[in-house]
């Protein structure tokens, strides 16, 4: 048995509970045989304390008054005896007897009715008590459920607070990442732009422009410009105001590579009547470095190795 129940049993035994608490406890005890037994024992123990009270004789007149009233009640409770007339012949006696019999029967009926009513009331009381117990049980269950719900609610509240804090922290992190990302984007754009610039610069750096000049008077008025793309290993030659070559001859372009003992053949160039030509060329061998470009007059159709006079060279 729990200590709390023993506490209540002791308090109830000494009548230290208020009326409401006492009623609740009595219902509890009615359902719990062990508790009821303990309560009865403690009630008797408490009553035994009466022996420890100093005896004090009450005033004599009190006894007289009490006994007088007791006797009155005793008299009132005694059945009324009616003198019976002992005359067999008397019709009055028979009449009285009949009346008494009828009265007795009526009283018996009344008693039977009352007994039935008492039984019915006892039944009603038992049902009411049972309902009270059921209501109390239901209330106990509800209280336990409420307590459980409250506990869960608190747990959820705590979890919710934690989650909100985590969410706030994550939002902060996301915000920081966004800022960092925006910075990275800006940096990327800058780098892309710089890369673009560098690429353009690099492209320009890879493009080599060379102007070819002549020491021969007949070709001094001619203009020859070579644009060389070292990465693609190809180039463009533009000729203007070049004198026509004699029959059976062609201009031929050469690329001078310091690592190659002979100029590398870049192809035959034919100018029109105005002395103009613009041709794309690609050397027949790999050129590691285009140190110079040269234009010579060679046999028609060109030659693998330079034979004729160099008329233009540059840069």
């Amino acid at each position: 048995m729990e200590e709390q129940q023993q506490d209540l049993a002791a308090l109830h035994a000494l009548r230290l509970l208020d009326n409401d608490a006492s009623s609740v406890f009595e219902i509890e005890a009615a359902r719990n045989g062990e508790l009821e037994k303990l309560t009865t024992e403690l009630e008797r123990t408490a009553a035994e304390l009466g022996h420890a009270v100093p005896a004090v004789a009450p005033p004599a007149h009190l006894k007289d008054a009490i006994m007088e009233r007791v006797r009155e009640r005793a008299r009132a409770a005694k059945p009324v005896t009616t003198p019976v007339l002992h005359s067999r012949q008397s019709p009055i006696a028979w009449g009285i007897a009949a009346a008494l019999a009828a009265g007795g029967f009526w009283l018996w009926q009344e008693r039977t009715q009352l007994t039935l009513q008492v039984a019915a009331l006892t039944q009603v009381e038992a049902e009411a008590r049972s309902q009270m117990i059921a209501v109390r049980d239901e209330r106990d269950i509800q209280e336990k459920r409420s307590a459980l719900l409250e506990q869960k609610s608190k747990e959820l509240e705590i979890k919710s607070t934690d989650t909100l804090q985590q969410l706030a922290r994550l939002m902060g992190e996301v915000e920081a990442l966004k800022k960092r990302d925006a910075g990275a984007q800006t940096q990327l754009a800058t780098l892309t732009s710089e890369l673009q610039t560098l690429r353009q610069r690099d492209a320009r750096a890879q493009m080599q422009i060379a102007t070819l000049q002549s020491t021969v008077a007949a070709y001094k008025q001619g203009v020859a410009v070579v644009v060389w793309d070292s990465e693609k290993h190809q180039g463009v030659l533009k000729l203007e105001r070049m004198p026509p070559v004699e029959a059976g001859k062609d201009y031929q372009l050469w690329v001078v590579d310091p690592k190659n003992p002979s100029p590398v053949n870049a192809g035959v160039v034919r100018v029109d009547a105005q002395g103009f030509a613009k041709v794309d060329f690609k050397p027949v061998e790999f050129v590691s470095e285009a140190a110079k470009f040269a234009l010579s007059v060679e046999k028609e159709g060109g030659v693998p190795k330079n034979e004729g006079p160099i008329i233009l060279i540059g840069p």
């Binding site: 049993a9 308090l11 230290l16 509970l17 123990t45 304390l49 004789a57 009490i66």
Partner: protein, 188 residues
């Protein structure tokens, strides 16, 4: 067997059968202790007399319901009289008076010698109960005596004695359980 040799229980049973002489004898045996209890509870002679009268009339009216297998006549009577006194005290709103300093101080079961006309059996039992009370720790004894005499709620006891409620409950429980164990065998 003379009527003076009859037990309290037998007298009460006879009273339940309408025997006023038996009841009168029972009154002579029980009333001094019961009146002493009521005087201590009320601290008022007049109130004690009223409740004594009310209690004995109740005892007469309900004597037929008494079951001697369940309790001694005296303990049954104490329960009845004490309940009536508590009902009266609470109805009169006497809690405040019960808590007066003087009342608090006097709320103990004084150790005095019983009058010569008190029954021997009652004297013996009185000695046994006082002896049992003497085995309790002081605080438990004080609280139980106070509770028994004042009949106020345990909350009011805690308030009047300036003790925590838990202390009051624990001491009363432990004290009463110990008292039961010590008196065991003597109880009906």
């Amino acid at each position: 067997m003379t009527s003076s040799e009859l037990s309290d229980e037998t007298l009460l049973q006879r009273a339940g059968g309408g025997d006023t002489r038996a009841f009168e004898q029972l009154y002579d045996r029980l009333s001094p202790r019961l009146f002493g209890l009521l005087r201590q509870m009320f601290n008022d002679e007049r109130e004690a007399e009223d409740v004594l009268q009310e209690g004995f009339l109740y005892l007469w009216d309900h004597a037929a319901n008494y079951d001697m297998t369940r309790s001694k006549a005296f303990t049954w009577a104490v329960m009845i009289f004490r309940n009536k006194a508590i009902d009266r005290l609470r109805a009169l709103g006497r809690q405040s008076r019960a808590l007066e300093a003087a009342a608090v101080e006097s709320a103990t079961l004084e150790h005095t010698h019983d009058a010569a006309d008190v029954e021997l059996e009652s004297k013996d039992r009185s000695i046994q109960v006082r002896s049992a009370l003497g085995t309790l720790p002081q605080e438990q004894r004080r609280l139980i005596e106070f509770a028994f005499i004042k009949g106020i709620t345990h909350q009011a006891i805690a308030e009047s004695l300036g003790l925590p409620l838990g202390t009051v409950k624990t001491n009363i429980r432990r004290g009463l359980l110990r008292l039961r164990d010590v008196l065991k065998g003597g109880l009906s």
